[in-house]
């Protein structure tokens, strides 16, 4: 199974269950930054009903084996459900529940609908500004590189920098933003 086929499966499962979603992770980053490989397909899903995630997982179960335990990220304590494709290659699927975090809520509200030729369907992605804010917030080496790359490829002059700076102030990540901007050589 190719990664785009797996992404399609997950997106179609959300649509079949009439659940709002957005694609995050390397797919969202790749749309705005320097493309790189990934090992997973990540989606944030709006929980319309309490059984929303279990319905999605049931739909995907023939193709994706999910763990029985929900996981929490140690930064925001958001809930994550992780599965791995049964077919090869062993790609990971990560489903994040939309929750009451002010930034995550706003990021989701601002998501954009785009048509992807690769997926041959319309899909939802966060804005480049929100990808940058999220990456700076997480702050792992890979995230900081990704944030710098989106800033470099898009160009700060095309981005809503006051929006980014505002969230960075709230998250205490202003210094990370400054370091990312300083690392971009003149184009």
């Amino acid at each position: 199974m190719k990664v785009e086929d797996l992404a399609n499966l997950v997106i179609r499962a959300c649509e079949a269950e009439a659940l709002d979603y957005m694609v995050t992770g390397a797919f969202a980053f790749g749309f705005y930054g320097i493309p790189r490989s990934t090992k997973d397909v990540d989606l944030v899903i709006s929980m319309g009903a309490s059984d929303a995630i279990s319905r999605i997982i049931s739909r995907l179960e023939p193709e994706v084996e999910f763990g029985t335990q929900v996981q929490f990220d140690t930064l925001t304590w958001g809930r994550r459900h992780v599965g791995r494709s049964r077919a090869n290659p062993p790609l990971q699927v990560e489903l994040f529940e939309l929750f009451d975090d002010p930034f995550v809520r706003q990021q989701f509200a601002r998501r954009r609908q785009l048509f992807s030729n690769q997926l041959n369907q319309v899909t939802w992605l966060p804005t480049p500004e929100d990808v940058i804010v999220q990456k700076l917030r997480w702050g792992r080496n890979k995230d900081l590189d990704d944030a710098r790359d989106v800033l470099a490829v898009q160009g700060p002059e095309t981005l809503d920098m006051p929006y980014i700076e505002n969230w960075c102030t709230m998250h205490g990540t202003t210094e990370r933003l400054q370091v990312a901007l300083a690392a971009i050589p003149p184009m």
């Binding site: 190719k2 990664v3 797919f27 490989s37 090992k39 140690t74 792992r140 050589p185 184009m187």
Partner: protein, 93 residues
């Protein structure tokens, strides 16, 4: 050509030139082309991992190779995610 590692300024210039090239190539692509490149790179990386695992295990059985890739991916995920995810949420949060 002089060794750029002997000269920090020259090394920085070289690093900047390589990075600038990557950025300009990404800018020359449409968002959809970049999206497609993520897929192509990912599929290619897994093919290379599979070939490498089969070579290391000295096997001609593709399933043995995939089982090894699966094992490696599980180990890699655990290593990369250590400390970032947990199965228990503290009661105070």
């Amino acid at each position: 050509m002089a060794n750029p590692h002997a000269n920090p300024e020259a090394l920085r210039e070289l690093q900047d030139a390589i990075y600038r090239d990557k950025v300009l190539r990404a800018r020359a692509m449409t968002p959809d082309q970049r999206f497609a490149a993520v897929c192509e790179l990912t599929n290619g990386v897994f093919e290379r991992m599979h070939e490498g695992a089969m070579w290391q295990l000295n096997t001609t059985d593709p399933q043995v190779g995939w089982a090894e890739v699966r094992r490696r991916m599980e180990r890699l995920t655990k290593t990369q995610e250590f400390g970032y995810y947990t199965t228990e949420k503290p009661s105070r949060t």
